[in-house]
């Protein structure tokens, strides 16, 4: 019979213990977990991006319900343990259930401190610890108003940034003269405070809270100097206290935290403890990296390895606020026995300070440029003698020893035990050996096998360099074509990094990916705009100033600066009313040229820009909408008449074409998409040279794709055959969505297909019904935000300034 392991608490550290334990001794224990929170294990560190809206709760779940079920672990959600009987070796939960254990692990974490000033229990006073807190903040923030965050430490500042992203007016109160005084020296604190103030967050230092005022809920905060600050929400972020009550009542040795030895055992040998609730060698930790190291030791001990010890940790901190680069480690207080090396670049907003004692780095603070954080931290932890590189030390690893600026040389030179992933404590050697022995081929593999870059993601670049180091050309294509001269990165890199680094705006992309120019260029800005739109539908705000003129004004610019207007003609079908409206518009605006296009619709050429809104208004009135003739978007679905009229028609090709066009119009794509539906294999709609084509046959529909009839001429490939119209639509939509997610900007479907491989595409769309459905749903979701008639929006007055001069100088004075 297996030994019984009971775990009190289901936070990130408890989860990590279980992972290690199951990896080394999967059959050793029957495991039961009690979680006071009513949920699974999630990444609490990532609550900051959830608060700011950059991630959702679903994104940060670490172990879902299936994970526990698959491993035979019983998880009791929402069942707080209220008593431990270490003599009888049982625990009692809040509903009265008694559970016996052979080994017990206490992982009760810590609770946020609430300063006991009058009014601290008014509604509207929140802490910032778990998902419930974040949801309470959402609810309050939804009403707008002012938030006061008490506590200008790591957590308080992240809360402030998150609430500001949610639209609240935020003020931070901090007791000490400088913010984050545990991690930063005064200069770095000054730079950080200035950055926050630039973003619109007020920061008051030496602000001592006297009381929180309000009758039914929070209304204001009163400081000891007498000032009154109005507030609709108050967030307490003044520190955490280990949750030790349970252990103390059970008779275990407790100081500030639950006392544990180097084997993570409490004063009772059958009870271990881990995480924020413990005190080890007098230290209580609040950062994840040391806690994950403890977790490893706990698991080893539970698995029977009595050599495993935890000896304490040196820690480094990173602030998780998008756009702020801040890294600090070690001891950087001032003193007579130490010296410092400082680099300041005021214009660049960069500050770096190393504290040296006995030729060793004992502390480092980096603001604005944190690329060398890992390297300095490695030197600090190893106690390396830096006397040989004093002169260039502050400039970072590139310059140590005068090596050339080769990014691969930097990572190649790191010793094997240097820590690449700080969150999960994964060193270079571990990653390299995992790549080699487990044949890992990409970032996803490394993440799932080693956990490196699986938490906060900021070491992803380094991990990718290690993959390149190990696999060389097998990992990347021989040459990566950069998007433009503003960057070395190619389209695929940028798309991936946008997802991985959660980049939400063009400036964020340019900053995080180190663009060489301040504002990009006409090549990369439209590409980034599309990539962000495709990745974050409904969340990313389209940047019209990064769209080519045609898309910006929804009409095609001609050589003389006039525009052409092409209303949509669904499936190439029209009627007298539409034709009359078009003819009337031609007369009214004296349109010089009227042309029938290859896309089976009518083009009005030579329209002056300032007349566009009026032309659209008249066309809209007749029920005509934009044909997107100008866009990297769905252009047309051409048809030939099918069973409605044609003696050879096998299916209702016109009906299907109209249905597809009405479903898919308005979506943005990497490059233009042209489709056609032919009613029989005679193919009068020329479907076999289109991006996507349908040939109707007696038994159903043959779906074609990857044709070209422009600069290149190429016949289509066959994707598959389907029997029904519904299936045809699903197949086509899923294909286009896959293209939207993987294609490079300006790359037509036929080029994407050649690069990706026809079979690979078929595997994902045709063979994998589940993935096809998911792609379909993602397209529908995206469409809910983008299927709008831009003409109608302009007619309604949206950004009318685009179509009018700002001034008209009617007199002669301007040009002599």
């Amino acid at each position: 019979m297996k030994n019984r392991l009971v775990v009190v608490g289901n936070g990130m550290v408890a989860g990590r213990v279980l992972e290690h334990l199951l990896a080394s001794a999967p059959d050793a224990y029957q495991i039961t977990v009690f979680n006071a929170e009513p949920r699974v294990n999630y990444d609490r560190i990532m609550l900051s991006p959830v608060l700011s809206g950059e991630k959702t709760y679903a994104d940060i779940i670490i172990h879902d319900d299936d994970w526990y079920a698959e491993r035979g672990i019983t998880l009791h959600k929402g069942q707080k343990i209220i008593a431990i009987d270490k003599v009888m070796k049982t625990v009692t939960s809040v509903d009265g259930t008694i559970t016996a254990y052979d080994k017990l692990l206490i992982a009760t974490g810590s609770s946020p401190i609430v300063i006991p000033v009058p009014g601290h229990d008014l509604p509207g006073v929140l802490t910032y610890r778990d998902l419930d807190d974040v949801e309470a903040m959402f609810a309050s923030a939804a009403k707008g108003g002012r938030a006061i965050v008490i506590g200008g430490g790591l957590l308080g500042l992240e809360a402030a940034a998150g609430l500001m992203a949610r639209g609240m007016a935020v003020t931070v109160l901090h007791l000490m003269p400088t913010i984050m005084e545990r991690q930063l020296d005064t200069t770095a604190a000054f730079l950080l405070q200035r950055e926050f103030e630039t973003r619109g967050i007020k920061v008051l230092t030496q602000a001592d809270t006297k009381a929180i005022l309000g009758t039914e809920r929070v209304e204001a905060v009163e400081l000891k100097d007498g000032s009154l600050l109005p507030a609709d929400m108050v967030v307490m972020a003044v520190g955490i206290r280990p949750n030790v009550a349970l252990a103390r009542e059970a008779g275990l040795a407790v100081d500030r935290g639950i006392a544990v030895d180097d084997g993570m055992a409490t004063s009772d040998p059958d009870i271990l403890s881990v995480g924020e609730c413990v005190e080890h060698r007098g230290v209580c930790y609040g950062l994840v990296a040391p806690l994950y190291e403890m977790a490893r030791v706990v698991a080893a001990r539970l698995a029977g390895n009595h050599q495993a010890i935890y000896a304490g940790s040196t820690t480094a901190t990173k602030l998780k606020v998008t756009g702020i680069d801040l890294y600090s480690s070690g001891d950087f207080s001032e003193g007579v026995d130490r010296e410092e090396i400082v680099l300041r670049d005021a214009a660049g907003g960069i500050y770096k300070r190393l504290v040296i004692k006995n030729d060793q780095i004992i502390g480092a603070v980096l603001y604005g440029d944190t690329r060398d954080g890992a390297w300095f931290f490695d030197l600090l932890k190893r106690g390396a003698d830096i006397s040989g590189m004093r002169d260039t030390l502050i400039f970072g690893q590139q310059y140590a020893g005068g090596s050339p600026l080769d990014p691969m040389a930097a990572v190649a030179a790191l010793p094997d035990d240097s820590e690449i992933c700080g969150c999960n404590g994964v060193c270079k050697g571990t990653i390299l050996s995992a790549i080699a022995t487990q044949h890992l081929a990409n970032l996803g593999d490394v993440r799932s096998h080693t956990k490196a870059s699986a938490s906060c993601g900021s070491c992803t670049g380094l991990v990718e360099q290690l993959l390149t180091l190990s696999l060389g050309e097998a990992y990347k294509p021989a040459t990566v074509q950069p998007i433009c001269s503003c960057t070395e990165l190619g389209h695929d890199d940028v798309r991936r990094l946008i997802a991985v680094k959660q980049l939400r705006t063009i400036p964020a992309v340019m900053q995080e990916l180190e663009w060489k120019t301040s504002a990009g260029c006409a090549k990369c800005r439209p590409a980034l705009n599309f990539y962000l739109l495709a990745k974050w539908p409904g969340q990313y705000r389209d940047d019209s100033q990064s769209r080519f003129i045609n898309e910006r004004v929804h009409a095609n610019i001609q050589k003389d600066g006039t525009y052409s207007v092409v209303p949509r003609m669904w499936g190439g079908m029209t009627n007298a009313r539409e034709l009359r409206a078009i003819a009337d518009t031609v007369d009214k605006f004296s349109v010089p040229a009227v042309k029938v296009t290859g896309g089976q619709r009518i083009d009005l050429l030579g329209i002056r820009k300032e007349d566009l809104p009026a032309v659209w208004a008249d066309l809209n009135a007749a029920g005509l909408v934009s044909g997107h003739a100008y866009g990297k978007a769905l252009r047309t679905v051409k048809t030939c008449v099918g069973t409605d009229w044609c003696r050879f028609g096998t299916q209702d090709s016109t009906g299907l074409g109209i249905r597809i066009e009405k479903f898919m119009w308005g979506s943005w794509t990497p490059a233009k998409v042209k489709m056609a539906v032919s009613g029989c294999p005679r193919n009068c709609a020329e479907a076999t040279c289109k991006d996507v084509g349908v040939i109707c046959v007696d038994s159903g529909y043959d779906i074609h794709f990857a044709g070209a009839a422009g600069l290149d001429i190429k016949g289509t490939e066959i994707l598959c055959h389907v029997d029904t119209e519904d299936d045809a639509l699903e197949m086509i939509v899923a294909l286009v969505q896959l293209y939207r997610e993987q294609g490079r900007y300006l790359e037509r479907i036929y080029k994407w297909a050649k690069r990706t491989g026809i079979q690979t595409i078929k595997d994902q769309i045709v063979e994998d019904a589940e993935k096809r459905k998911m792609l379909f749903d993602r397209f529908v979701h995206s469409q809910s935000f983008s299927q709008n008639d831009p003409w109608a929006e302009r007619v309604a007055g949206n950004q009318a300034h685009e179509f009018r001069p700002m001034a008209d100088l009617a007199f002669e004075g301007i040009a002599q």
């Binding site: 260029c521 001034a807 040009a815």
Partner: protein, 119 residues
């Protein structure tokens, strides 16, 4: 709309509108009897004025994508510097600049000092 010149210390500055009437990384036009003038506003809120005619084939620079202190002409992608009107890279050509300033959130174009547009 008509704009009246105001004289200050001998130069004629014409109030053409508010800075906020110009989108950042964008442009608006000022119509004159001799053609349009493009007024550009960069991301760092600097304002430049060029004749709205690309030195290549006369394309409307005001319609181009603005990046840093340059604009890319929408017709054939020539990149024109907003600071001196010169075509960048391998292209040769120049468009005349006009003097423009911003005061108290309003944009002023210099009247009398405008040279005739370049050929």
């Amino acid at each position: 709309m008509n704009a009246q010149p105001t004289t200050a210390q001998g130069t004629e500055w014409i109030d053409i509108g508010r800075l906020d009437d110009i989108p950042q990384q964008g442009a608006r036009t000022v119509r004159t009897p001799d053609g349009d003038i493009a007024i550009f506003r960069t991301r760092d809120d600097q304002v430049f004025a060029l004749w709205d005619r690309c030195p290549h084939k006369g394309g409307p620079l005001s319609q181009g994508i603005v990046h840093g202190h340059a604009v890319t002409c929408p017709l054939h992608n020539w990149v024109i510097s907003l600071e001196n009107g010169e075509a960048q890279g391998a292209d040769n050509g120049c468009v005349h600049r006009l003097r423009v300033k911003v005061e108290a959130g309003r944009v002023f174009l210099e009247g009398a000092a405008c040279p005739a547009k370049a050929a």
